[in-house]
């Protein structure tokens, strides 16, 4: 067992994947000599060479587009998008090509490209550096999406995404890159496309992922002090979603709160709410509630704390749920 930050865990996961499979290569802006703006790929160029860690020209469509061709050639490219808000120049390549080539080719081609996107807010930055665009990609069939919240998942999901024969986007919780946690390098976490109950409880369920998992856990702890028993699910995979684990929890607790940094409107919370309502209607003691950001472009840093859900907003939703 090792104590690693999430950033170092991803670095170790990528390194191990590169060591085990010579076809794994990394591509992105400033990921080589600099080690990435968040230093996630630090040292990997020295270790594996400039032909496997590509400081690419500055063009996201080019990065993802050439990664697709490399994957068709038998490589397993891992692309880093520097910040969430800069994914969009590659949006065409991701949604019309990467997601569809396997189906277009009647299964003859696979394009195992991994795209790493540091995402989420509350980092006190400028426009386009704090977004949570996961729903845009979850809506696109052909893609898979992972969102690790801790070092152990970060380490293993990086490798599992690369091994997966489908394209995988990993949304990395950038404000938690320095959060430390245990990493068991011998014991892989199981199915990456499954959710995990990270705190057991009896009276309500909070579903969260990525940077909001620690917030959900803090909310459950605060609720315990008020005499409430709250279960927390780390969703881990955003596409597909492990509805079985969520539904089983709601059947037990009768209440569900979904928290995400992305805007509530059109967010994944709506999808989860609808599915759970269909499957566990008679178990529900209250409507499913969502806690998300507001329907506006991500606001400037000075006021972002009012935009992104925090502990108090999750607790307020819990109160509303218990009030039914």
């Amino acid at each position: 067992m090792k104590q690693l930050t999430i950033a170092k865990a991803i670095n170790a996961g990528l390194s191990r994947a590169m060591e085990e499979n010579p076809k794994v290569m990394l591509m992105g802006e400033d990921i080589g000599s600099l080690g990435g703006v968040y230093r996630v790929t630090e040292g990997l160029k020295d270790r594996y060479g400039a032909h496997r860690v590509l400081d690419t020209p500055l063009g996201e469509a080019g990065i993802v587009g050439t990664a697709i061709g490399l994957a068709e050639r038998g490589y397993r490219p891992v692309c880093e998008i520097q910040f969430d808000g800069f994914t969009f120049p590659a949006f065409n390549q991701i949604t019309t090509q990467l997601a569809k080539i396997h189906a277009r080719s009647d299964g003859n081609l696979t394009v195992p490209v991994t795209i790493r996107i540091p995402y989420g807010g509350v980092i006190g930055s400028v426009e386009h550096h704090s977004e949570s665009p996961e729903a845009l990609f979850a809506h696109t069939a052909g893609l898979r999406i992972l969102a690790p919240s801790n070092a152990q998942d970060a380490y293993w999901m990086s490798q599992q995404a690369i091994e997966c024969n489908d394209p995988v986007i990993i949304f990395e919780p950038k404000r938690r890159y320095w959060l430390k946690g245990d990493v068991d390098e011998n014991q892989p976490t199981g199915d990456p496309f499954s959710a995990a109950v990270v705190r057991e409880g009896q009276e309500a369920t909070i579903v969260a992922w990525g940077p909001l998992v620690p917030v959900a856990l803090a909310a459950a702890e605060a609720a315990r002090e008020d005499g409430r028993s709250v279960e927390v699910i780390d969703l881990r995979s955003l596409s597909p979603i492990d509805f079985d684990t969520v539904t089983a929890s709601v059947r037990k607790t009768g209440r569900l709160i979904i928290a995400h940094e992305a805007p509530t409107f059109g967010g994944l919370g709506g999808e989860i709410a609808a599915r759970v309502t269909e499957r566990a209607f008679y178990s529900l003691e209250a409507p499913v509630l969502r806690v998300g950001a507001f329907h506006m472009p991500y606001p400037p840093a000075a006021v972002e704390e009012h935009y992104v859900p925090d502990l108090d907003r999750v607790l307020e939703a819990l109160d509303r749920s218990f009030a039914y």
Binding site: T56, G69, R73, Q97, A103, F243
Partner: protein, 393 residues
């Protein structure tokens, strides 16, 4: 025929290569003629045959579409020399990334017309296994396939380097990749990024643009003030401009470019100036946007007629050969028609299996839901189907 010039243009020129002119006369070029020196009567007949058969398939597909047997067809008429000449220069292991009009290219590389027409019958978005003929699938989002070609080319170079480093035997002919796209697609941003990436990584890729003067209803002058071939210099690699209706020029230029690419000198771009003689697709009406006299002028530059004249007058090829090609074309068209009418449409539930390569919980759940729903109608369906053999034809 020279394209109209955009007002205010700062000229940027690349000479236009022509080896076989409109009158059927051959011109010598010190750089390019050596690349077609070995092209004898037999090979010229082969080139003609490929062009003529592609045109015959094109005609058959248009009529199949008119009869409601295809959902759409994209005619290639007029572009046979650009397509056959470039494909002819490739090795079977060179990966081709077509756009959506390169029928003569994909046929030359082994894709059967009946495989291609599955796409236009609405049975698949693909039609063949790209790894079998080293021909990728048609890509409908303009220019999107071009960065893929560059990435694939980067991969071939990496593989070759790895094999050399490991002391393994490598082929004497390094692989090359050809990306096809059109004058309209050339404006898409992905073309720019592709060229930058290809240049930076010395990718063994040929950018082959067929400038057929039109992007649906928009003339070339709206896409560019200057020949597209001039753009290559801005990326630091060679751009060639050829008479795309001159099969010898296209073949020579493509051989020259692929040689250079195989030597590891990085990408090359070829602009083949040609003309889309027909409609954009069977859903298009060119009378709305272009003049009959333009069509007539280009009509006199038909690439098949030029090669036929050359074969008859200089190589003394007679009717017997041309008749045999016509007959072969007819047989091919009949066979294609029969193939199309006999195609069995896919079942809807197959598409659940194709969405992902690895098992997927949502796909499994939705497939089960869908099959369950369909099962509710099963007895009625069975009745409807009985005795309606060939109902899909």
């Amino acid at each position: 025929m020279a394209a109209k010039m955009h007002p205010g243009t700062v000229e940027s020129a690349v000479p236009r290569l022509q080896l076989l002119d409109e009158q059927g006369t051959v011109h010598e070029d010190p750089t390019f003629s050596p690349f077609v020196e070995d092209v004898d009567t037999v090979e010229l007949k082969g080139l003609y045959r490929s062009m003529a058969l592609a045109r015959r398939v094109d005609e058959e597909a248009t009529s199949l579409q008119r009869q409601g047997q295809l959902v759409l067809w994209v005619p290639l008429r007029g572009q046979e020399a650009a397509q056959v000449g470039s494909a002819w220069a490739t090795e079977p292991t060179d990966r081709i990334y077509p756009s959506y009009r390169e029928h003569a290219v994909v046929f030359h590389r082994g894709v059967k017309p009946g495989e291609l027409l599955q796409l236009f019958r609405g049975h698949t978005a693909g039609g063949w296994d790209p790894n079998e003929h080293h021909v990728n699938l048609y890509t409908m989002v303009l220019a999107s396939q071009v960065p893929h070609a560059v990435g694939y080319a980067m991969g071939t170079a990496l593989d070759r380097k790895a094999a050399e480093d490991a002391g393994e035997q490598v082929s004497e002919t390094p692989e090359a990749v050809v990306a096809y796209y059109g004058d309209g697609a050339s404006t898409e941003g992905e073309i720019h990024e592709s060229m930058v990436f290809a240049a930076s990584y010395d990718a063994p890729v040929l950018f082959f643009v067929q400038n057929n003067q039109w992007a649906i209803s928009v003339p070339f002058s709206t896409q560019s003030r200057v020949p597209l071939a001039t753009r290559a210099a801005g990326y630091g690699f060679e751009g060639l401009r050829v008479d795309g209706n001159d099969i010898l020029a296209v073949l020579a230029a493509t051989r020259y470019a692929l040689d250079k690419i195989r030597r590891g000198e990085g990408p090359v771009m070829i602009e083949a100036e040609t003309y889309r003689m027909g409609a954009h697709t069977t859903a298009d009406d060119p009378t709305k946007y272009r003049q009959r006299d333009e069509e007539e002028q280009w009509g006199t530059l038909d690439p098949l007629e030029r090669l036929e004249m050359f074969l008859r007058e200089t190589h003394h090829v007679g009717d017997e050969f041309f008749d045999s090609v016509t007959n072969e074309g007819r047989e091919m068209a009949d066979e294609l028609r029969a193939d199309v009418l006999a195609m069995v449409p896919p079942t809807f539930d197959e598409f659940f299996d194709k969405a992902y390569a690895d098992p997927h919980s949502l796909i499994d759940a939705e497939r089960a839901e869908c099959l369950d729903y369909q099962a509710g109608f099963a007895p009625q369906d069975d009745q409807d189907d009985s005795g309606s053999e060939g109902a899909h034809a």
